[in-house]
Symmetry: C2
Subunit: 310 residues, 2 copies
């Protein structure tokens, strides 16, 4: 078994290799003068079980092309099996046609990964489970839940915790955590009565005096999160922390979070943290390297990964 990485999250790839006690595979993934990607695999992979760690985070198109070109190079170098490991799956939010003449880019990306020659795909907290159905090759979608749960247990008195879904769409995900922690669940119900009017935050459940934990899969602009924190505190919550798997954090998101009333935003390393994220006083990154490392071990030994979630 060999693990390789493109340029999107070498830190995570190194941490996974550390967990597995193997060296990171040697590959050069560079640019020509015109910025086209050039890949050269610098060690023998003939007959090997190869794992390519490459979340397709910002810049998604470049990181996706790096992945596809690496898959092509691996296949032409006679790797026995190629598993594309995408802890963050770019374009996942375009998983259905929102309106008339639009693409389903998540399906397109799935097809491109297969077409390039991947034999398997490993993901983490996919935005929609349905995306697994976009592939005809085997997929494993890992859950960050056990990693987040462990962190919550070591930081909070569970008897005073309230799990909160930041919108109605995320209720299933939040409920899974609430059940696991044996905590109460409440929901922020955003409503905009007329277009142009500002959103009203309706909180379903009594959060008075509670340590609220906002749960979601993606934090992008951070706007929803910061507004939800304000609304929860206004309703008497004693603190608000957010546990979110994927820290996309576009535009001014980091500033928005650092100047918000959030006690803490806890994200995973599915996306490599920028220096701004690393130096933010109220953002903390927990690693998924042991989880992914263990899943890689089991996959390469043809064992089930499902017990990782117990």
């Amino acid at each position: 078994m060999k693990v390789f990485a493109g340029n999107s999250n070498r830190q995570l790839a190194e941490a996974i290799c550390n967990y597995l006690n193997v060296p990171l595979g040697k590959a050069s993934v560079r640019r020509f003068a015109d910025q086209e990607i050039f890949v050269e695999i610098q060690e023998n992979v003939r007959g090997e079980d190869v794992f390519l760690v490459q979340p397709t985070s910002y810049p998604a198109n470049d990181h996706l092309m790096e992945l596809l070109i690496m898959i092509d190079a691996m296949r032409r170098s006679s790797a026995r099996r190629i598993t594309a490991v995408l802890p963050y799956f770019g374009y996942a939010r375009q998983d259905r046609r929102a309106s008339g003449r639009t693409p389903i880019s998540a399906k397109l990306v799935s097809n491109l990964i297969t077409e390039a020659g991947a034999d398997r795909v490993m993901t983490l907290d996919l935005h929609a489970g349905q995306i697994q159905g976009f592939f005809d090759i085997p997929t494993d979608n890992l859950y960050a839940l056990p990693v987040l749960t462990r962190d919550i247990k070591s930081h909070y008195d569970l008897s005073n915790v309230m799990v909160v879904s930041p919108d109605v769409g995320g209720v299933v995900r939040a409920r899974a955590l609430a059940k696991r922690l044996d905590c109460l669940l409440s929901i922020v119900d955003k409503r905009r009565d007329r277009p142009g009017e500002s959103e009203v935050m309706n909180i379903i459940g009594d959060v008075t005096g509670k340590d609220c934990l906002l749960i979601d899969d993606i934090v992008d602009s951070g706007g929803t999160l910061c507004n939800a924190a304000d609304a929860l505190l206004a309703q008497g919550a004693s603190s608000v922390t957010a546990y979110i798997t994927h820290g996309v954090l576009s535009g001014g998101a980091v500033t928005r979070v650092t100047s918000s009333k959030l006690r803490e935003l806890v994200i995973t390393d599915s996306i490599q943290p920028t220096t701004a994220v690393q130096s933010a006083h109220n953002i903390r990154v927990v690693t998924t390297a042991p989880l992914i490392g263990e899943a890689i071990t089991r996959t390469s030994q043809e064992e089930s990964v499902s017990s990782l979630f117990d």
Copy 2:
């Protein structure tokens, strides 16, 4: 028949539509906050013969993804036939395995275009004709030669012209032009005797007193071109002009050309000229819009495009 464009060369797409006397199809090709591409086709394309004009020039990965996502959106909107028009075909130079464990990215890109759902592909002066064989769908590779020939005839006294291939690899292309113009041909033979030693320019043919026309398909860094111009002038050429189809012009290429001894660099609009190119005193852009427009007309009428090259 309908013509649409991504963001890589709207100028050319508009010019093609002008030639065809049709409006450019309405489509929104934008970015989300995290820079993922979002496409919305804003007019009915059901049953239509659709042409997507989108050279995959710098930034190649973004322009390729725009093309693929547009194809996906068109297919899902029931377009009858989708022709991807790539006047410049990015990644074409990675058309074979240069060394051991490397990809063949031009083949990968060909597969991705087919997988997204293109029914036909139209290209211009492909770096290697073999790339047509990478597709299993119909392809038409147009030649810029007639466009360049017309320009040369209106600017030069053909009796004093010498066509020059800037390297041995380009001799076939240069010979086609020399034959068409009924001119003499010479060749710059670059040699590097030992690695690390500087290149020696050996000129095959007598260029004394000639107006030399350097012919190639791609000008990237411009280094080869400017060196060849120096060598030709040192051998007594009276002027040196370069006619090159695709103006990639990476890095400091424009400055290199403007401060060189080239009388002129003539390129086509297969790649949308930057403002630096537009304001360069010795770079001139000739349009391929009528050529591509005519090829689109013939394709949509199920006629052959080959007579365009007579």
